[in-house]
């Protein structure tokens, strides 16, 4: 009895095409999540925004964009079987992503440890500061969660790549993670101006 296992349906190319479609559907779904947050920002802030220091967000934006460059470098490298560059670029991407993440937590949100070693939020805007705090922390927090998961995926890739997985012919996992990383970057490219650049600045209470 001939089962379906020997047809082209089991080929890597066919499966990857399915996976690709699935991945893009996932991105469409996530776009509704980030879109909902964006709508909330405009509903609650209107034409205003909180008056926040600009330097750090600008720096971490550059860091994130740079990380996308290295992610792309990693993908191109493995597509040419250049494992060394692939692994190195992955690590750099993960490092830059981590810098972004920690930058959000410790510099932008302002977590720090005071003299007694307690974790506190300093003079920065707090999540409890009305709609300005709520939306800011909500959007940057949801984004940071996706950055963190992206970094974890990249480190998993690095570990697998180190063990010899992935080749020029078969590296869908890398392609998928790379596109995920670019997607996370793209979300930030929209969030960053929405949170920090557009609208009339309004001072918050601290």
């Amino acid at each position: 009895m001939a089962a379906l296992t020997e047809t082209h349906h089991e080929s890597y190319a066919w499966k990857s095409q399915n996976n690709r479609l699935g991945m893009w559907l996932f991105f469409i779904s996530e776009s509704f999540l980030f879109g909902g947050l964006l709508v909330s920002r405009f509903f609650l802030w209107g034409g205003t925004r909180p008056d926040l220091p600009q330097l750090v967000p600008l720096i971490i934006t550059v860091v994130l964009l740079l990380s996308s460059f290295y992610m792309n470098r990693a993908e191109v490298a493995i597509a040419h079987d250049d494992r060394r560059t692939f692994l190195r670029s992955l690590l750099i991407t993960a490092l830059l992503g981590t810098i972004f993440f920690l930058g959000v937590l410790f510099v932008e949100w302002g977590f720090s440890f005071n003299e007694q070693g307690k974790l506190v939020l300093g003079n920065h805007i707090h999540p409890t500061d009305g709609v300005y705090g709520a939306v800011l922390y909500g959007m940057t927090g949801m984004h940071a969660l996706h950055v963190l998961s992206g970094v974890i995926l990249i480190l998993i890739l690095w570990n697998l790549g180190r063990k010899g997985h992935f080749s020029a012919k078969e590296h869908f996992g890398v392609e998928a993670t790379a596109i995920y990383w670019h997607y996370v970057d793209l979300v930030w490219v929209v969030f960053y101006p929405a949170l920090y650049l557009i609208g009339t600045p309004v001072a918050h209470g601290h």
Partner: protein, 639 residues
């Protein structure tokens, strides 16, 4: 076989461990940060350990999924260990019955798991309804305290929604691959995950009733939900996980439908149910994120003080400066942006079932197949444009109500196309009155009542009177029963012989129909009537002076009759049919692809590639074929 080998048991154990871990994590982190182990509530009346309970709930789900074994393969992939897919039980040697209580990758097993879990939740939701309908049967009864009553109606609503989503999942998962000639879904492991995530979701949802309940209705509006008892958090988490199932399951349906159809099956040669499932999946994939987001925002408003919906800023003790007010209406916009399309998730598959069954029992083509297929897509699209009709009296911008009125009225057009096409399918047929057909006819009549009670709600002027009254309750029960419950039962009866190889009792089936259909008409018309005579929604009792006691009594009795009739069905399918004689492979003489293979469906559904060579519904056309299966045996002289 040890009970601890079952995925369900392992999941529960893993879940409990996860719960304890999550709770300890929050308490531990608080202590490490030099805070007290319990959280000083940020608003009066909130529970002391709320953040710990919430995080524990999340880890309950994670622990459950890990324990059950839904992530085993993926974790192996992360470590570079391949796990090739094979047909049959995931762990070789698992007895057949145990597969249904464990993580299994076969879409047929998963479909049955969805179905049984859905029926279970239907029962839980139904029992809740029986209790509170007893109180409402006569005026001024008060044996259920009002806060308990509020929890019951809230739980009833969301548990029923969960049940419907599971039933939709059952039909899509079981049928779509069979109908398109695919060996399984595109992503079998994701499929299993998407089923199993419902279980911790359902557990959390039911547990919510017992950790304080919640008094917000299934809609969870803040500011009320921001100050509701602790149960509301498990309500939010439960919905979150059930919603995740929707998103992941629908992704699978879309990829499978687009990529795995049998050769020769163009889009317009697909069975109509596949179109319905596809349109449904598009809605599930996209809109569900919004209920997750809106609930998440209330959740963090409660435990982190992020005041999205509180106009004064949150009522926090420590913040002395309030910078900008939240807006309760934002929640409603976000929430209804999902929850309206959600109702089309609930009904599109059932309407597809009606379209699927009528041609078989009328023995003639589906009238206007292409128009029906396109009407499902049109309903899915327009369904995204109507959400604010739930908010006509909310304080939203008055002028904006007009475009939403028009878009809502517009949905009636593609829906009408379906109704008229069904009539066209029945007309001129040779109709056989088997139980699946009877339930399809009930579905049409009940969905008609639901649909016709819609335009007065769509029209703002009349909605000012009717919104939030029992009229609305009548409208949506009729649409839900007509669009899901009746068709789901029709589908259960219809495909039962295919899935099990046994035939149910036709007489018991007809008894079920004869009890449930008139009972339901009485129930919905009764609800509509009392709603127009002063009965509000979500109230624990009502005054004698309204004079609606008789109507309410009839509604309650009807509810009980429906409940009993469903028990008859369960007896029929679970007890009677198991000892009944075996069913033929194609008792309905259907042209469908799934009816050309043996019953019950073997592990590998299609021994050879099916080829589609004709139209699906060409009943009455001599010599026409839909599919070409295995080649004919030699020397037998024809088909």
């Amino acid at each position: 076989m040890s009970i601890f080998r079952l995925g369900l048991v392992r999941g529960l154990i893993g879940g409990l461990i996860g719960w304890a871990f999550g709770f300890a994590l929050v308490v531990g982190v608080r202590l490490a940060l030099g805070l007290t182990p319990q959280w000083r509530p940020m608003a009066p009346g909130l529970a002391a350990y709320e953040p710990a309970v919430v995080v524990a709930g999340i880890f309950f789900a994670i622990g459950f999924m890990l324990g059950a074994g839904t992530m085993t393969d993926w974790l192996k992939w992360a470590r570079g260990i391949p796990t090739p897919f094979h047909h049959g039980p995931r762990i070789p040697g698992t007895p057949e019955w145990a597969r249904y209580f464990s993580v299994d990758y076969s879409h047929k097993v998963i479909g049955v798991q969805y179905g049984v879990t859905g029926i279970f939740l239907l029962g839980v939701g139904g029992i809740l309804a029986m209790i509170f309908r007893l109180q409402l049967a006569q005026p001024e009864l008060n044996f259920v305290a009002h806060d308990v009553f509020n929890t019951m109606i809230s739980a009833h609503g969301m548990i029923m929604i969960g049940s419907i989503l599971l039933g939709v999942g059952a039909m899509s998962n079981y049928l779509v691959p069979l109908m398109i000639g695919a060996s399984d879904m595109a992503f079998p492991r994701l499929n299993a995950f998407a089923y199993w995530i419902n279980l911790p979701g359902a557990v959390l949802l039911i547990t919510a009733m017992f950790i304080g309940g919640w008094n917000t209705g299934w809609t969870g509006y803040p500011p009320l939900s921001a100050r509701a008892p602790l149960g509301v958090q498990y309500f939010f988490l439960g919905v979150f996980f059930i919603g995740l199932s929707s998103i992941l399951g629908s992704l699978n349906i879309i990829v499978t439908t687009l990529r795995m159809r049998a050769p020769g099956m163009t889009l317009f040669r697909m069975p109509i149910f596949v179109w319905a499932a596809f349109a449904t999946a598009i809605i599930q994939l996209t809109a569900t994120q919004l209920i997750g987001l809106s609930f998440l925002m209330v959740l963090v408003q409660r435990i982190l003080g992020m005041g999205f919906f509180d106009p004064r800023g949150p009522v926090w003790f420590e913040v002395d400066k309030w910078v900008g007010g939240g807006n309760p209406l934002l929640f409603q916009h976000l929430f209804w942006f999902y929850s309206h399309p959600a109702v089309y998730i609930f009904v599109l598959p059932g309407l597809g079932i009606i379209s699927e069954l009528l041609p078989v029992f009328a023995r003639k083509p589906l009238f206007g197949y292409k128009w029906i297929a396109m009407s499902s897509m049109a309903i899915a699209l327009v369904g995204f444009l109507v959400w604010a009709h739930h908010m006509f009296v909310s304080g939203m911008n008055n002028y904006l109500r007009v475009p939403f009125m028009f878009s809502t009225l517009l949905v009636a057009v593609p829906t009408g196309v379906k109704f008229f096409s069904w009539l066209g399918t029945l007309w001129g047929g040779r109709i056989e009155f088997k139980t699946p057909l009877l339930f399809s006819l009930s579905a049409i009549s009940v969905f008609l009542i639901g649909g016709l009670t819609g335009p007065p709600l769509a029209t703002v002027t009349t909605d000012l009177n009717l919104t939030d009254t029992y009229y609305v309750v009548g409208h949506f029960h009729a649409t839900m029963f007509g669009g899901f419950v009746f068709p789901f039962f029709a589908a259960l009866y219809y495909w039962y012989p295919k899935a099990t190889g046994r035939m149910y009792s036709e007489r018991l089936g007809q008894l079920h129909f004869a009890l449930m259909t008139p009972a339901f008409w009485v129930m919905s018309l009764g609800q509509v009537y009392v709603g127009m005579h002063g009965m509000r929604r979500r109230v624990a009792t009502y005054e004698e002076a309204l004079g609606i006691g008789t109507g309410q009594l009839l509604i309650t009795i009807a509810g009980f009759v429906i409940f009993i009739s469903v028990l008859i069905m369960l007896y029929n399918l679970a007890v009677y049919a198991r000892r009944a004689p075996k069913a033929a492979a194609n008792p309905w003489r259907s042209r469908g692809l799934e009816w050309q293979i043996p019953s019950p469906v073997p592990e590998v559904s299609f021994a050879t590639t099916p080829f589609v060579v004709g139209e699906p519904y060409d009943y009455g056309l001599p010599g026409s074929r839909y599919v070409q299966m295995a080649p004919l045996p030699a020397m037998t002289g024809g088909d």
